[in-house]
């Protein structure tokens, strides 16, 4: 297995982890700091992983890139773009400090998620520094690999609570040869019916969001496929730049002081909640700027079969993520303890008692 991570940097990190473990101290993993607003506020000393930079290996014809956890996400995406490739999960970029490790740890995917891949679908393998300071390689660089438990997929969205991502192998996809944006000015109820029908057909859709007034659809693929799809769907021609704004959270709603992310089944009905709403993922991801009490929002998301995350604006100590039922929560604790028995990493970032 390729583990080309600089051994001195890793040794220094491992020493800090072991020391923290001995003293029962917590460590806060930090790459570029672009996502420090996510999750609960945590205590502990900073474990700076920004020295873990660079691409370890990239072979475009293998559809895989291996980069260190602290590698710049922008640089990696630039390298992929120069080779006609991309990350199919379309992760948001919150500033130039954003790292590949942060992308995996946060598990945030862009508008393409329902049509292409989640962050975890793009992870083929990781080298992890666990809570005992050991270097573990899970997964690999090949897409089809069922040897050992898929602990690498577990890292996506774990918010750094299971270990330090030293390097990560990501599956990459060819960039579509062309894209097109279509618009329908209509209320969400009409869009929902339209999407219900479109989503059942083999169309080259790669995005579907409603900003309160307009449904926008994105098509991606070869010229012929996009041309044919656009003719089937109809609507007005739209501007593609709005998709970049959406992907990187630059549309007006993302400036809200208190912003909720509701993840619900695509076709579920969500109770009316006061506040501005942007509906992405063809209905499955709702961004809600609202000061409605937390319990009301969580209840509405659960009633729709999903969950709500206080994406930004949590005050100190406030819970950010919905809490699973008790048995499942206890399982989370045991899984964390399997890789981080002393509870060194990002203590309290997901939930206060994890």
């Amino acid at each position: 297995m390729p583990t080309s991570t600089d051994s001195e940097v890793v040794a220094a990190l491992a020493a800090q982890v072991r020391e923290a473990g001995r003293r029962h101290n917590a460590l806060k993993i930090r790459g570029g700091g672009s996502k420090s607003f996510l999750g609960r506020r945590t205590a502990g000393r900073t474990l700076d992983v920004s020295a873990l930079t660079g691409v370890v290996d990239y072979q475009p014809t293998e559809l895989v890139i291996t980069a260190r956890g602290g590698a710049s996400l922008r640089d990696v995406e630039g390298l992929l773009a120069a080779n006609g490739q991309m990350l199919a999960c379309e992760p948001p970029d919150f500033g130039k400090g954003g790292t590949v490790g942060g992308m995996v740890a946060s598990g945030l995917a862009g508008p393409r998620r329902p049509f292409a891949a989640a962050v975890r679908d793009c992870v083929l393998g990781v080298t992890l520094l666990d809570g005992r300071g050991r270097t573990l390689r899970f997964g690999g660089t090949v897409f089809k690999n069922v040897a050992g438990f898929d602990a690498f997929r577990l890292m996506a969205g774990a918010m750094g609570t299971l270990g330090v991502l030293l390097d990560i192998s990501l599956r990459v996809a060819p960039r579509p040869r062309t894209e097109r944006s279509l618009a329908f000015e209509e209320p969400w109820a009409d869009s929902q019916a339209r999407l219900g029908e479109l989503m059942r057909r083999p169309l080259p859709l790669s995005g579907a969001f409603h900003d309160g007034k307009v449904l926008r659809l994105r098509l991606s693929g070869t010229e012929r496929a996009v041309e044919h799809g656009a003719a089937e769907i109809g609507g007005d021609a739209g501007d593609l730049s709005v998709w970049t704004e959406l992907r990187h959270h630059r549309l007006p709603i993302f400036a809200a002081q208190r912003l909720w992310r509701l993840s619900i089944p695509r076709t579920a009905e969500l109770a009316d909640l006061p506040g501005a709403q942007l509906i992405d993922w063809a209905g499955a991801q709702r961004w809600l700027a609202s000061n409605v009490p937390t319990s009301e929002i969580r209840e509405a998301a659960r009633a729709a079969g999903g969950h709500a995350t206080l994406f930004q604006g949590a005050v100190d100590g406030e819970e950010v993520y919905d809490r699973p039922p008790e048995a499942l929560f206890q399982l989370h604790r045991r899984v964390k303890a399997a890789l981080d028995p002393a509870g060194v990493f990002n203590r309290g970032r997901l939930w206060e008692d994890l």
Binding site: M1, P2, Q59, P60, T61, E62, G84, R113, A118, R120, D121, D130, R134, L136, F138, G140, T141, V142, F143, K144, N145, V146, A147, G148, F149, D150, L154, A156, G157, A158, P174, R175, R177, M199, R200, R201, P202, L203, G221, T222, R224, H228, S263, P265, R266, T267, A284, G305, G306, H307, P324, A327, L328, L331, H332, R334, A337, A338, L339, W351
Partner: protein, 499 residues
């Protein structure tokens, strides 16, 4: 022989009061839900890897989640190992009974509970056959994408346990990429739902961890699957090459051109000639290797893109490129590929199917090395390759009746797997580790990594009673197998460049 479990190296075989367990289980299960007579249990003694056989202590056939829960709790209390089984089509001995175990057959969980075409979701019980899901979805223009070659028989629960792939997985993904939720029962009798119909769940992605865990963590009692719209049109071409290496180069060039085929398969000469004799697929028998490439999508788009693939193959030195003229010919192309395994039966009484994955770029040298090992062990090897995703299936031909041939086939298989690891790949792409590749796990993973796997298992199953002796070897086994030191320094295949 690996079909024999070893107390010391795998898991302790404990005596238990079988009559007491029967008395406890009987009232918990349907009247025909508990088998204890050896003749009735005989069909459960092996899975698709029929060379490994072992009789279970009892066979339980529950119908409800509550019954599964009751069986698991009873087994935990009695400290009896439990091996869950789907349709028994697995190729790595994952459902091979542990001595004295309770074999938990999920075959009676055979209902499709709901199918919502608007949400593109099917809720199914784990004993439902893979193909039955696509058949139920077909009237709605949808299908369930993972399509392992056993799809007519294999069950969804088994697919989850193995993270099954299939011919189309390069484009449409593996089981894990097409799952929404699982209902599981742990050995402690906890019933939990992992994931959900929303695209994510709060906390750890335990759905992804459980997928491919080979029955070591929990028993699946319900699966929620994501369905995909059936593509409008599919077309295939066949390209023949004078050298296998050139076919490998064509594969790399197709990917480099930004094309993701729905299927991309390669067969070497021994395999393609056998398939041709078996079912007259129309393969050119003078070729050293053939490539089958299928594209799907909108019709004109597919036609245009397939022309590009044809040009790429010619550029890579194909001696012949043939596009299927119609649906019948396309199906014939694939019939040959699907017949490759049964066709081996005409070349030798037995064959042993290996399942490594390698980086595509290493194909040429790996094939050369397999040929060398094949000559050394004096057993022919035919190669079938899921070229798009690097999953290689060398088929070792042997005759179990001839003394020593099975042992030689097993040894050659192990060498080929170690070769795949040395080339930067893995010992199993889709069949799972099961019992079969338990020793090679010691080659692919370090002691610390194996300890981490054991700890993750223990998070779900602290007793270790679920499917012991499979998938994750004990450190004692690796020490005995003598592979731990290999990981540390003395690598096999030292003459191969490493990544």
């Amino acid at each position: 022989m690996l079909s024999e479990f070893d107390q010391r190296l795998d898991y302790p075989v404990r005596d238990y009061d079988r009559e007491a367990l029967i008395a406890r289980l009987k009232p918990l299960l349907p009247h025909d839900g508990l088998l204890s007579a050896p003749e009735a249990m005989r069909v459960y003694e092996c899975d698709g890897l029929a060379a490994y056989r072992s009789l279970p202590g009892l066979v339980a056939l529950p119908r409800t989640t509550e019954q599964v829960r009751n069986v698991l709790v009873a087994c935990r209390d009695a400290r009896v190992p439990v091996v869950a089984r789907g349709a028994g089509t697995g190729l790595s001995g994952g459902a091979l009974p542990f001595p004295g175990c309770v074999l938990l057959s999920m075959s009676r969980f055979d209902k499709i509970l709901s199918l919502d075409p608007a949400a593109r979701i099917a809720r199914v019980q784990p004993g439902v056959r893979n193909l039955a899901v696509s058949e139920a979805a077909a009237p709605h223009g949808l299908f369930y994408a993972p399509d392992p070659s056993s799809q007519a028989a294999c069950s969804i629960g088994g697919n989850v346990a193995e993270n099954a792939g299939g011919v189309h997985c390069l484009k449409y993904g593996l089981t894990v990429n097409n799952l929404a939720a699982l209902e599981i029962v742990t050995l402690d009798g906890e019933v939990m739902t992992l994931g959900g119909e929303a695209f994510d769940a709060p906390g750890f992605d335990l759905l992804a961890l459980l997928t491919g865990s080979e029955g070591l963590m929990a028993v699946v009692t319900e699966a929620t699957l994501r369905l995909t719209p059936v593509p409008l049109h599919a077309r295939a071409l066949l390209a023949a090459f004078g050298e296998a290496r050139r076919a490998g180069e064509a594969v790399a060039a197709i990917i480099a051109a930004g094309i993701i085929p729905a299927g991309l398969e390669m067969m070497d000469q021994l395999a393609l000639v056998a398939a041709e004799r078996f079912c007259n697929a129309g393969y050119p028998t003078n070729a050293a290797a053939i490539l089958l490439c299928e594209l799907d999508g909108e019709e004109e788009d597919v036609i245009g893109e397939l022309d590009r693939v044809a040009a790429i193959c010619r550029q890579a030195g194909a001696i012949e490129v043939r596009q299927a003229r119609d649906e019948a010919e396309r199906k014939r192309f694939w019939a040959g590929r699907k017949a490759a395994f049964p066709a081996m039966g005409r070349l030798a009484p037995d064959y042993y199917c290996i399942d490594g994955t390698i980086p595509r770029a290493r194909l040429g040298e790996v094939l050369d090395e397999i040929a060398r090992l094949s000559a050394e062990r004096r057993l022919p090897v035919a190669n079938v390759f899921h070229a798009g995703d690097g999953n290689l299936h060398p088929l070792i031909l042997y005759d179990a009746r001839r003394k020593g041939q099975l042992d030689r086939a097993e040894a050659l298989g192990g060498e080929i797997l170690e070769l795949c690891v040395a080339a930067g790949g893995t010992i199993t792409g889709e069949h799972g580790v099961g019992r079969e590749k338990i020793n090679q796990m010691c080659v692919q993973f370090s002691q610390a990594e194996l300890e981490a796997f054991a700890a993750l298992k223990a998070a779900f199953d602290p007793t270790g009673l679920l499917n012991p002796g499979k998938a994750v070897p004990t450190l004692a086994r690796c020490a005995e197998f003598g592979a731990m030191h290999v990981h540390g320094g003395h690598l096999p295949f030292a003459h191969l460049d490493r990544l």
